[in-house]
């Protein structure tokens, strides 16, 4: 006997619901479990006691310092660059667009090697700098340069799309009222895109903080000079595992804070729109 159509529809719906629940649960758990496991591997006492470890402290401060500088450079140079790029047509604009996105798909190790080939002591440009006694590779400056290289696309892409999406009528109105381009940029364009720019900046900071591949290639792994948090985690695997664990947990906490900040900003932007 065939089941009634109503009954079979009910079964079908139940199976769909279960299937969906399993799918959502498995994706969520796959992503969340490893992160949660980090917290279970240590104890609060061990975590707080290793916070005072000099390797943890120096990696934390070096990471925060270099990421902040990187972010500052990206914002100060990237914001006007993205604006000029969006508002003008120039030959080779498509190529520039592609180059901006390149670090997103380029393996970070390749980025690090490329920076080394250019700026290293024997590098194409670096050899001339070394004539003046200037050395970039394997310094804190190299850490910052590597971070800027890999993290800037996050900000530039966001800034570009915000400037492109902003209704031109605001800037046009300001022009007819006699405002100079600089005044319009500062008083109209920037405030109207500020929330989106900040969320782009937060993502950039996060990427700079987590930079791992390019840094050891170009800047090395010197504690206190170029050993950022992700590098210290890697070193911890071979030496003091607790230190690696503590830094990892710190990075997870910071990453979470970044994601929450981006979400809050996105919500504020949506409510302002």
């Amino acid at each position: 006997m065939n089941p009634s159509p109503v009954f079979s529809e009910k079964i079908q719906r139940t199976i769909t619901c279960i299937g969906a629940a399993v799918l959502v649960a498995s994706v969520t758990l796959y992503l969340a479990f490893p992160v949660v496991a980090l917290f279970f591997r240590t104890t609060p006492e061990l975590f707080f006691s290793s916070l005072s470890n000099p390797d943890v402290i120096s990696a934390l401060f070096l990471s925060l310092f270099t990421s902040t500088i990187s972010l500052g450079v990206v914002i100060l140079v990237g914001t006007p660059f993205a604006y000029v790029h969006c508002r003008n047509d120039y030959p080779g604009k498509v190529i520039v667009d592609t180059l901006i996105d390149l670090p997103l798909v380029l393996p970070p190790a390749v980025a690090g090697l490329a920076l080394l080939v250019l700026w290293g002591r024997m590098g194409i440009l670096g050899q001339y700098l070394s004539l003046f006694g200037i050395s970039i590779a394997f310094t804190t400056l190299a850490v910052i340069m590597a971070q800027i290289f890999v993290a800037s696309p996050f900000y530039l892409r966001q800034a570009k799309s915000l400037f492109e999406q902003l209704d031109p009528v605001y800037e046009q109105t300001a022009r007819t009222l006699g405002a100079s381009p600089l005044r319009i940029f500062a008083l109209i364009t920037l405030p109207l895109t500020a929330n989106g720019l900040v969320s782009g900046a937060v993502m950039t900071f996060g990427r700079a903080l987590g930079e791992f591949g390019a840094t050891p290639m170009f800047a090395g792994n010197l504690p206190g000079v170029t050993q950022t948090m992700p590098l210290a985690v890697y070193v911890g695997m071979e030496g003091n595992f607790t230190v690696g664990l503590t830094i990892s947990i710190l990075l997870v906490i910071i990453s979470f804070a970044i994601m929450i900040a981006v979400r809050l900003l996105a919500r504020r932007e949506a409510s302002n729109a």
Binding site: Y170, Q172, T173, T176, L177, G178, A179, S180, I188, L192
Partner: protein
Amino acid sequence: MLDAIIHKKLRDFSLDITIHAGPGEIVVLMGENGAGKSTVLNSISGLVPPDTGSIQLNGSVLFDPGMGVNVPVENRRIGYVFQNSVVFPHFSVRDNIAFGLLAQHKSPVFIKEHVEHWMSATGIEDLADVRAGNLSGGQKQRVALARALATEPALLMLDEPFTALDADNIRLVKELTRTFVTEMQIPCLVVTHRITDSRDIGDRVDVICRGKKEWEGRPDDVPVCACRSEDR
């Protein structure tokens, strides 16, 4: 006095038109959507320069490729109220109206007096500290008008100023426009596609069709067929 001769190649046709408006005169530009009305205003304001032609305002040349003159938008002294009541949403009403005066580096005392004057003239003094993004359509339009007039423009241009407004606000904006244009004795161009608007506010009507002036005359005489618009 405005004298503009505009030639510009557009996507589907070319704009070839002569616009004239005397002091205190409101000239209404009518025509279907896409006829080139807004392009005329954008050309005169300098936002979209014509290919050839000339634009003169009160005897001074704003645009003339033959003479190598193309005055930048910000120096043309044209009050331009765009479609859809554009206000700076992140500024208060007061700061919106002060924007042009600040850009012109007027003194703080002058700005304060002028802003108060224009807020009271357009009936928005109660809204002085309200963020402009939170205003209604009619309020925004009055802010846009006050902001344009506060800069003491030599020409006023309004692009579809009555769409998206209710009947009371349409009447109010029309009255305000007429009053200020007469008081300040400046030429004024109003783009609309409704015959009723042109009758209420216009001294003269130019009907534009596919970039050419199809008809010119008094608002009461506009032939019904001259602007084939669904919305009269």
